[in-house]
């Protein structure tokens, strides 16, 4: 990987050099826990309570990426998300009620119930301008947003999340080449969880990794251990600076693992047990909380309290969403056109 900047796991000793205050690190852990507990609850709402239905793609196991990348952005930077977007939304500070409300199809939802889980991360007030359910399609859209930012001489950049499966779409190639040729300020973040639905990465993509392939477009490209939030943050901070300064695209591949099935109903029996176990042992939330305790930034007790708070918050969101009302059908026609 000659052309690629590799960022492996960050040792605890290095934590102090990262430039994050203890407070910031605890907040990052809290966000990761919010995603974790939210998704676990959603899973139960589908599989146990049977209260939610339809497609839903959990972010479990990838928490370090959303939190690490988004921590490196300003609130004004734009985000393009996907159908696996709950994590991006929560890391951006979208309220749990609204997110849960969207899953319940309620008017209080981020998209008033019209988008559902797959588009629930689309929330303009938090500068998430798109959550697409078409694999790869966010990549050229992000290029267009970047074109606009550059045109307006804005200092903001756009960050576009997508999976390893997206790397085999035409949109990936056209979009990244376009961004590279036109020099557009986009940070492309490939969350390589090693599966595109049932297809393992090795059978999906002809190159050994996405980062190196992307460097073929002449981009600066990072290959990052994606289960370590601090590693993700370090790489992202550097990458974001680069994008902002040079107004050119930069690429990050984060290696991670989808802890659950592709969608909430998928039991994912196609994966080798050892592989799953290996990655579960490297769970990003456990890893980070252990480190913070080790580092003395947090006590076990405090950790437990945070977790309890988060769980309560999730439960409250469920309560609110459950009781919220659905939009009137007649209202839908208002959302078709802006003008008539």
């Amino acid at each position: 990987m000659s052309d690629v900047i590799v960022v492996g796991e960050t040792s605890v000793d290095e934590y102090c050099d990262v430039g994050l205050t203890p407070r910031e690190m605890v907040d990052m852990l809290k966000q990761m826990l919010e995603i974790r507990r939210f998704e676990e609850r959603v899973e139960r709402l589908f599989l146990v309570e049977g209260e939610l239905i339809g497609p839903c793609h959990l972010y479990l196991g990838q928490e370090a990426i959303a939190v690490g990348v988004i921590k490196a952005l300003t609130n004004e930077d734009i985000v393009v998300s996907t159908y696996r977007g709950h994590g991006h939304a929560l890391a951006r500070g979208v309220s749990m009620e609204m997110l849960m409300g969207e899953l319940y199809g309620r008017e209080i939802g981020t998209c008033k119930g019209l988008g559902g889980s797959m588009h629930s991360a689309m929330y303009v007030k938090k500068n998430i301008l798109m959550a697409t359910a078409i694999v790869g399609s966010g990549i050229p859209i992000a290029a267009g947003i970047a074109l606009g930012l550059k045109y307006k001489n804005s200092d903001n950049i756009v960050t576009c999340f997508f999976g390893d499966g997206a790397a085999t779409t035409g949109a990936f190639h056209e979009g990244i080449n376009m961004a590279a040729v036109l020099k557009l300020p986009v940070l492309y973040v490939c969350e390589n969880n090693q599966y595109a639905y049932s297809l393992p990465f090795s059978k999906s993509f002809a190159a050994g990794n996405v980062a190196e392939f992307a460097s073929g477009y002449g981009l600066r490209s990072y290959f990052v251990y994606g289960n370590d939030v601090i590693s993700v943050y370090r790489a992202s901070r550097e990458a974001v600076e680069e994008v902002r300064k040079h107004k050119s695209p930069v690429f990050i591949e984060c290696r991670t693992y989808r802890q659950k099935g592709h969608g909430v109903y998928d039991r994912a029996l196609y994966r080798p047990k050892e592989e799953v176990d290996e990655w579960l042992r490297n769970d990003p939330v456990m890893k980070f909380s252990r480190r913070l305790v080790e580092l003395g930034v947090l006590t076990e007790e405090e950790l437990k309290n945070i977790d309890e708070d988060v769980k309560e918050k999730v439960e409250k969101a469920v309560e609110i969403a459950r009781k919220a009302k659905v939009l009137e059908f007649g209202e839908l026609f208002k959302y078709l056109y802006s003008s008539r």
Partner: protein, 324 residues
């Protein structure tokens, strides 16, 4: 001998039988091999026919359809799966500008015996980007054949015919129908392309319905019966080519027509059927032709809203009552 099996099982049997019968039939697409398809229509094919004939592909819809074009050009009978009809928007160039035209534009030098199987998911809370019923577009693509089965029996017989057909076939399944059951003969049979099926005979009004809405039309016909109205329900099954004779003959008999499909009303399949009937059988018509369709807005995700959005037996009954 016949058994009750599901629509998905019927499709699976069709694939199996044709793969056994003809070595040239191969299957590829996203997640079709190891897990047997997102909706299990290709389940067990990998085990029976091996990885030479059943291939998982990357997420590359344009290349999947393009590969089907190439494989057909060299003499195979590829059956490519596009997981959702929505994703076919990414393969339109290959399907419309290549598959449907290669024979014509080469002066008949080649044939393209390929099938693109896909499904539309309206009715499963999949939201705007996964619920599109894009079938009407393909009415306007000469060179393609387009099939939309509504029952397990038709699904099996039509898929077998599609695979044997020497022209490119777009085979659109209904996601909500996968789990519906119906009688399917144990012995081999085919359902020919281009022939409509009269699902119920009647004299008072003709209801032409497509895919999932055939089920709703039949429910509507039952309710109408209670009010003394005897509706004829026709399922074209193939919309390109359409079996105009069956439709026109029915309208000439009943003098009234309601057309139904799961698409947005404007530019729908129903529009073409209405236009053709008014062109060819104007004098038989005793009232306007009413279309029952989805409204002209994208599909909302919220379940109750999606339900209101969709064509239902009630809406069909209402339409019939308007013209009777």
């Amino acid at each position: 001998m016949s058994r009750m099996i599901t629509y998905a099982e019927a499709l699976n049997e069709a694939l199996r039988e044709e793969m056994r019968r003809d070595e040239n039939v191969i299957v590829f697409g996203e997640d079709v091999a190891v897990i047997g398809g997102a909706y299990r229509v290709t389940k067990g094919l990998l085990e029976e026919f091996g990885s030479r004939r059943v291939l998982d592909t990357p997420i590359s819809e344009a290349a999947i359809v393009g590969m089907a074009v190439g494989a057909a050009l060299i003499g195979l009978r590829p059956v490519a799966e596009i997981m959702y009809l929505d994703f076919l928007t990414l393969g339109m160039d290959q399907l419309v500008t290549h598959a449907a035209k290669a024979r014509f534009m080469s002066g008949g030098q080649v044939k393209l015996p390929l099938v693109v199987r896909t499904q539309y998911s309206l009715g499963r809370v999949h939201a705007s980007q996964h619920s599109q019923f894009l079938a009407p577009w393909f009415l306007n693509v000469p060179g393609l054949k387009v099939v939309l089965p509504s029952t397990p029996y038709d699904a099996k017989g039509l898929l077998k015919s599609s695979i044997r057909d020497d022209d490119p076939v777009l085979f659109i399944e209904s996601g909500v129908l996968y789990s519906t059951k119906g009688q399917v003969p144990a012995d081999e049979y085919l359902v020919p392309l281009g022939r409509a099926d009269v699902k119920k005979t009647g004299d008072d009004v003709t209801i032409v319905a497509v895919s999932r809405t055939v089920i709703e039309a039949l429910k509507a016909a039952e309710k109408l019966m209670e009010e003394g109205i005897n509706a004829e329900v026709i399922d074209p099954r193939t919309i390109n080519p359409m079996d105009w004779d069956t439709i026109l003959n029915s309208v000439r008999k009943t003098n009234r027509l309601v057309v139904v499909d799961d698409g947005h009303k404007t530019g729908s399949i129903s529009a073409e059927i209405a236009a053709k009937v008014v062109e060819e059988a104007f004098d038989s018509l005793e009232g306007p032709i009413i279309r029952v369709n989805s409204p002209d807005i994208p599909v909302p995700s919220s379940q109750p809203l999606e339900k209101t959005f969709m064509v239902s037996a009630e809406k069909i009954v209402e339409a019939v009552l308007k013209i009777i």
